[in-house]
């Protein structure tokens, strides 16, 4: 079993931390995992992405040109990573900010209005949690309970966000589940 995902958006959308939460969850479940951020010139362009590989085997290449899944949070991310996802893979599209069409017909597309959902829950910053919940629903890369426990642990110092985060994860999980 190996699950690869690239999570991409612009700076401030929490794509790197969403990837880290996923990585921590995978480690908590005893999987091998690699979290690899984009670094270098890309950092300055206002876009950010990271890839997370979760596997029950030792992970060979940390670089995944054709991941099994992509989470795209804005238009440039869809343009860049939409074509990269391997056939039969999954693309999770943040429809709150993406107004272009994904031209792939060989992948499963899951549409989540992550920012809108998060704002409806009271804080637009939780969009990354919404999308993370959706990813886990779509791929079962880690167990949803472990994911929630990890988020609780990582936000232990900010208990005021716990309820928001849990509801955001749940909302994403449910929305994706309906589309599978």
């Amino acid at each position: 079993m190996q699950n690869e995902v690239v999570i991409a958006g612009f700076g401030g959308q929490g794509v790197l931390s969403a990837g880290q939460i996923l990585a921590y969850s995978a480690m908590a479940e005893g999987f091998n995992v690699v979290w690899l951020p984009s670094y270098g010139p890309e950092m300055r362009g206002g876009t950010a992405n990271c890839s997370v590989v979760v596997s029950d085997q030792p992970i060979a290449s940390p670089i995944i040109p054709h991941p099994g899944a992509a989470i795209v949070m804005n238009n440039p991310s869809l343009e860049r990573f939409g074509p990269a996802v391997k056939a039969g893979g999954i693309i999770i599209i943040n429809t709150s900010l993406i107004n272009i069409k994904c031209q792939r017909d060989d992948v499963t597309q899951i549409n989540i209005g992550a920012n809108q959902v998060a704002m409806d829950l009271g804080n637009g910053k939780a969009a990354n949690m919404v999308i993370l919940g959706a990813y886990v629903a779509a791929t079962k890369a880690v167990s949803f309970d472990v994911l929630k426990a990890t988020v609780r642990e990582k936000f232990a110092r900010k208990p005021q966000f716990e309820e928001l985060n849990m509801r955001a994860l749940d909302a994403g999980f449910e929305l994706a589940g309906k589309q599978m």
């Binding site: 880290q20 990585a23 921590y24 480690m27 091998n32 995992v33 690699v34 979290w35 690899l36 951020p37 670094y39 270098g40 010139p41 992970i59 060979a60 290449s61 940390p62 670089i63 040109p65």
Partner: protein, 357 residues
């Protein structure tokens, strides 16, 4: 071993030095390893250690010399252009036989190059960046865990051989997060180098004075010192060659030789090569100096083609050729400029080389 934690390579590198007992770190910021400095700027004061950002890599190399000459376990990290600047000090440090440890989180060159991963400092690391006949022990981790383990080991090796040890990683290993088991010790390692009283400068109280120097004006004395160094290097070559072998049983169509991040990409490429019926194995050198010459030579006997796969325009391949000694064709596949080839590109590259050979 302790429990697993998810750590960024650069931070794990810093923590490993502390676990190894090191309490002195001098640095100059350079991407992509600056997180090592940022991590230790916080961490060293917590453990009562010394953290100092020097005015240049040149100065840092002599801060290492000074602290190393005072018998202290000392560490630095830098990246390719920074290592070039430290090269001056390295020659002195190796000559004075100081047990310092450093890591080069390699970026692409030459010149300022860029900040993306590369392995084009192989010559610099293994052939000696500075002047004179000297060697650093050079180790190449291919994962965050291995980086941690090798740093701890480096301090022991440096102490054992009174020789500097350099690790070469790349931006990829520095930047990525992987689960790591940090080593634990029954007794925490000392921040001082074992036996330093015999040679280190600490103030000549109750003993003959100690002198740490590299000038040998008398040619015979100079030659004797060189012979002594070479004797030590022979001993290191006899004891410290390290490598990993993957699927090297039986006869092979192609043997890949690759290290660090590139070796991980090769591992994935090997799966697709096997799927196409190619009998492929890999030898991943962990010690780049000393280099596993003999083992590669032995494997070459049962291999149709040996290919060195590198993030460079062809450096380690010269040592692979030296190992194979013309008995088997040697090919090269590499990328430069910070490009890490995909497993498919590697696969296609290998297949092309097989066709040509």
């Amino acid at each position: 071993m302790g429990k697993k934690v998810l750590m960024k390579g650069n931070e794990a590198i810093g923590e490993a030095a502390i676990l190894a007992g090191c309490r002195a770190y001098f640095c100059y910021p350079i991407t992509p390893q600056t997180e090592v400095a940022e991590y230790l700027a916080r961490r060293m004061p917590e453990v009562g250690g010394t953290f100092l950002q020097g005015e240049s890599e040149v100065a840092v190399s002599y801060m290492l010399f000074g602290a190393g000459g005072a018998g202290v376990k000392v560490f630095t990290s830098s990246s390719s252009p920074g290592i070039s600047l430290m090269a001056e000090g390295m020659s002195y440090i190796a000559t004075a036989e100081l047990p310092i440890v450093l890591i080069n989180v390699m970026r692409n060159g030459p010149g300022l190059g860029g900040i993306l991963p590369a392995q084009a400092d192989y010559f610099q690391a293994t052939k000696g960046a500075g002047h004179g006949d000297y060697h650093f022990i050079v180790l190449a981790p291919s994962s965050v865990q291995e980086a941690v383990d090798l740093i701890v080991k480096s301090f022991d090796m440096a102490e054992k051989y009174s020789n500097p040890v350099m690790l070469v990683a790349d931006g990829m290993i520095g930047q990525m997060m992987e689960p790591v088991e940090l080593p634990t010790f029954d007794e925490p390692p000392s921040p001082y180098v074992k036996g330093h009283e015999k040679w280190a400068t600490t103030g000549a109280k109750g003993r003959e004075r100690n002198l740490v120097k590299t000038l040998f004006l008398n040619p015979h004395e100079g030659q004797d010192h060189n012979v002594k160094l070479q004797t030590k290097y022979k001993e290191i070559e006899a004891n410290e060659i390290a490598f990993e072998e993957i699927d090297t049983d039986g006869d092979l169509d192609v043997l890949l030789v690759s290290f660090g991040t590139m070796a991980r990409v090769c591992k994935t490429a090997m799966e697709s090569l096997k799927a196409e019926g190619v009998k492929v194995g890999m030898l991943r050198p962990i010690s780049l100096w000393p280099f596993p010459l003999q083992r590669i030579r032995d494997l070459a006997d049962k291999t149709k083609l040996v290919v060195s796969v590198e993030l460079s325009m062809g450096q380690m391949v010269e040592d692979v050729e030296r190992a194979v000694q013309g008995k088997t064709p040697v090919g090269f596949f590499g990328r430069a400029g910070g490009i890490v080839p995909t497993p498919d590109e590697v696969k296609d590259g290998i297949l092309n080389l097989m066709k040509e050979s």
